[in-house]
Symmetry: C2
C-alpha cells in the first residue's frame, strides 16, 4: 500500500508519523476546553467530537466522541471500527469534497494537551521476548536454566495495576521499597537503587469476552497498540518476586504513548512469529502472521543534556503475539474487558545494542555503558529522561506511535511526611 494523500498537507511527508494511512486515536484538550477524542493527521488533530456534533461523523445513536476515552467506540465492535476508519479516510483524503466542512474541526497539535486515550480496565504484563527472558534468566539462574520450563509452551504473564498506568510525559517518582542487599541478613526500606525501563508494546482489548477464545478471535478482539514502558525497580523485584511474582517493583508506574495505533493501520506490517522448538498446543497455535514489523528504539538523556540512543530492536522479535497472549489469558474462563491493556513483555533482539532494558544493557549492573555525553550508566539516575519510539515503515510513508517518555524524579526524602 502506498502513501494515501490527504489535504492536510503535513501528513503527506514520507517520514511523518501521522499520515492518512495511520489515523491514530487520542484524547486531547486545548486551553479552556474539555478533554475529548481526537484523531492525529499530520501536524493537526481532528476534533472528532466537534465533527460528530456537526453531523460529519455518526457512529452510534448517541455521541461517542465527546468523552475523554475511546472505550465507548471500542465497545461498538469491529464493524463500527471499520466504518469509522473508512469515514475518516474519506473525509481527510485529498480528493474529498468535504474539506470545507471538515477543516474548521482541525486543531494544531502544537496547541493541544494530550491525555490518556482510554480508561485502562485491567493491565497484564507478559514476558514473551525470548532474548529478554534468556538474558534475565541467565543473570538470575545461570545459562542452563535461563528459560523456565513453561516458557516455550505458554506466554507466561502476571497481572499488573491498571491504577499505575500513566500517559507519556508524566514524571516518574523513584520509588521506595523493601529490598535486601546480598551482604545483609535482613531487608531495609530504602529508595530503589536499580530503577529500570522495559521497552514493550501494549495491546488494547477492544471487544469483551467471557470464556476461552481462540487465537483468531483474540486477534479480532484487539483494537490497537501503543508503546509501553513498564518502569521496574529491580532491587525491590529481586527480594519480593518469589514465589508470587513481581508486585510493588512494577506498581510505581507504566507509561504508554498517547496515540492508539489501530490494528487496521498496522495490517501491511504483519509478520510471523519465529520458528518454534516445541509445537504449541492447538489452542495457542499461530493461525496467521500476528506480529508486526515495528522498529523500536530507546533513548536516554541525562538532566538537561542530549539524548543517546541506547537500544534499537523490533517488535518482530517476540516469541508470542498479543493474540496468543490474549488467547492464553482467557483459557481459564477469565473475563476480558474493553480497555484491558496487555504488555508484550520486554522486547530485546539477539545482540547487545538490541536490549530493551538497562538490566540487560548493563548486564545486571556489572557492565556500565557510556552515553554520547560521556556519562556512564548502569541503571537510571535522577533527572534522566527515558524515551521509547516506534515506527513501521511502509512504501513512502511511516506509521508512528508518538513518543513514550518519562523523566525520573528523585525519591521523596520521607515518603510518609504529610
Amino acid at each position: 500500500m502506498p502513501l494515501l494523500k490527504s489535504w492536510v498537507t503535513s501528513a503527506n511527508d514520507a517520514s511523518h508519523p501521522f499520515p492518512l494511512n495511520n489515523l491514530p486515536y487520542g484524547v486531547f484538550s486545548t486551553v479552556g476546553t474539555e478533554e475529548r477524542c481526537g484523531v492525529a493527521i499530520g501536524d493537526m488533530i481532528l476534533d472528532i467530537a466537534a465533527a460528530e456534533e456537526a453531523g460529519l461523523i455518526t457512529l452510534a445513536e448517541d455521541p461517542v466522541f465527546d468523552v475523554p476515552y475511546w472505550n465507548d467506540v471500542m465497545d461498538l465492535g469491529p464493524d463500527a471500527w471499520e466504518a469509522l476508519r473508512a469515514r475518516l479516510t474519506s473525509l481527510l483524503s485529498d480528493d474529498s469534497d468535504e474539506k470545507p466542512a471538515t477543516e474548521p474541526h482541525l486543531v494544531p497539535m502544537a496547541d493541544a494537551t494530550l491525555h490518556m486515550p482510554l480508561v485502562v480496565s485491567e493491565y497484564t504484563d507478559f514476558y514473551a521476548g525470548r532474548h529478554h527472558a534468556t538474558n534475565v534468566g541467565t543473570m538470575f539462574r545461570g545459562a542452563e536454566n535461563a528459560l523456565p520450563p513453561n516458557w516455550l509452551h505458554i506466554p507466561i504473564g502476571y497481572n499488573g495495576r491498571a491504577s499505575s498506568v500513566v500517559l507519556s510525559g508524566t514524571d516518574i517518582r523513584r520509588p521506595w521499597g523493601q529490598l535486601k542487599s546480598p551482604d545483609h541478613d535482613v531487608p531495609a526500606f530504602l529508595p530503589c537503587r536499580r530503577f529500570d525501563i522495559e521497552l514493550e508494546m501494549g495491546a488494547i482489548v477492544g471487544t469483551a469476552s467471557d470464556g476461552p477464545i481462540s487465537v483468531q478471535e483474540a486477534d479480532d478482539n484487539i483494537f490497537g497498540y501503543v508503546l509501553l514502558n513498564d518502569w521496574s525497580a529491580r532491587d525491590i523485584q529481586a527480594w519480593e518476586y518469589q514465589p508470587l511474582g513481581p508486585f510493588q517493583a512494577k506498581a510505581t508506574a507504566t507509561s504508554i504513548s498517547p496515540w492508539i495505533v489501530t490494528k487496521a493501520a498496522l495490517e501491511p506490517f504483519r509478520t510471523e512469529t519465529p520458528a518454534r522448538e516445541f509445537d504449541l498446543l492447538d489452542h495457542l497455535k499461530d493461525v496467521g502472521p500476528m506480529l508486526y514489523d515495528i522498529n523500536l528504539a530507546v533513548t536516554m538523556a541525562p538532566d538537561g543534556k542530549d539524548a543517546t540512543t541506547i537500544a534499537r530492536t523490533n517488535y518482530d522479535q517476540m516469541y508470542y503475539s498479543a493474540a496468543q497472549q490474549l488467547a492464553h489469558h482467557s483459557t481459564s474462563g477469565c473475563p476480558m474487558n474493553v480497555g484491558d491493556l496487555l504488555g508484550s513483555g520486554t522486547i530485546s533482539g539477539p545482540s547487545k545494542p538490541e536490549r530493551g532494558s538497562l538490566l540487560e544493557l548493563s548486564w545486571g549492573g556489572k557492565e556500565p555503558f557510556t552515553l554520547d555525553t560521556g556519562e556512564e550508566r548502569t541503571f537510571i539516575e535522577d533527572g534522566d529522561t527515558l524515551t521509547l519510539t516506534g515506527a513501521a515503515h511502509g512504501d513512502g510513508y511511516t506509521i508512528g506511535f508518538g513518543d513514550c517518555t518519562g523523566t525520573v524524579l528523585p525519591a521523596l526524602t520521607d515518603p510518609y511526611a504529610r
Copy 2:
C-alpha cells in the same frame, strides 16, 4: 458492647447474623425493581434508596443509594460512613420514634435477589497466613524451605483479576488450562483436575491514596470486609507459577459474600497479630490491634447431599492484617482506589481440621478425607457445593457475613465450541 435492640424484632436474636450491631451493606432487587443499595437488619432489608428518596437519610447533595454499588458512599469518606451508621442505628433502634416512617421501606430478605455489593476496581490476593504458607511450602519445597525468605518481612501478594470476582451463589465452571503431569515431558490442555478453594477474608478499600501510606492510614482507609473464596486450579498453578506467580490458575473466579460488614461493626472484635520472629520494618509495624476475632468455617456438599464441615479456623490466625497489606501495597507509590479488594490469603490454623484449602486438607491429594456422607475427597468434584461462613460472637449478639457459596459445574466438553 451488648446487643443493640431494634424494632425489627428478628434482629434481636443472639444468633441472628444481622442485628442492629451489624448493619451490613449490600445491593438487592425485587421482582420488577432495579438493583439498589440495601442494609440488612434481621430478616429484612432496608431499602435505603427509598429511605433516601423519602428524605429519611441524606448523606450528600445528590442521591448515593439508588445505584447498584456502594462505591459512591465509600467515596464520601470516613466521616460520612460514621454519620450513615449513626443515622441507621437511630432509625432502626427499638426506641426510635421514626419506625412509622421507616417501616414502609423494609423488604423481606426472602423476596430479594442479592447482587454484587460494589464495583471491584482491582483485586489483589495476599499470602499472609503463616500456617497455610508453611503447609504449602512444605509440600512444594520441603519443610526446611517452607517459608520464602521474604515471608516474615513483607506481606507478599500478587495482583488478581477484578473481572473474575463474582457474587456468592454464582456457579463456578471447572476451567480448562495448560498443565503438565510429572510423568509427561510436555504439557497438555485439559480440564483442571485439582480444583480447590481458598478460605479468605476480603478487605475493601474505601478511600483512595496516591503514594505510600502508613499502617494507621491504611486501616483508616478500609471500608469493610467480606468472606472471599479464591477458587484455585492447583495443577494449572503448579505449571504456570514460576517465575511470575499465579495467573490463569486464579482467574476463573473469586467469590465474595454479599454483605459488606463495616469496620465499625467489627470494632469490638479487634485482636493483635501474633508474636513475630523478626521485627517488622517501621513502615509495616503494628500500631494497634488490626486483626479481628472472626470464626470461619468451610462446608462441602456433594451434589444433592448434605454438607459436611471440613474446616474451622479464625481470622486471628493471620500473620499480617489487611492494614499492613494495604500499607505494603502502597509502598512503591501504587495508587489505590475506592473499591479495591484485598484478599487476605488462605486462613489456616495450626491443626489439620483448621486448614482453609483442600490442598492442605488432603495434603496435596495424598491424604483423602471423608465427608459425613461417606464419600472421599481430595479436591473438588463436579457438583460439589463449597460454602464459607463467618461470624464474630459478641455479648449476646452475632456479627454474621452471609454465606459465600458456589457449586462447581463440569468443565465444558469443548471450550472453543460456539
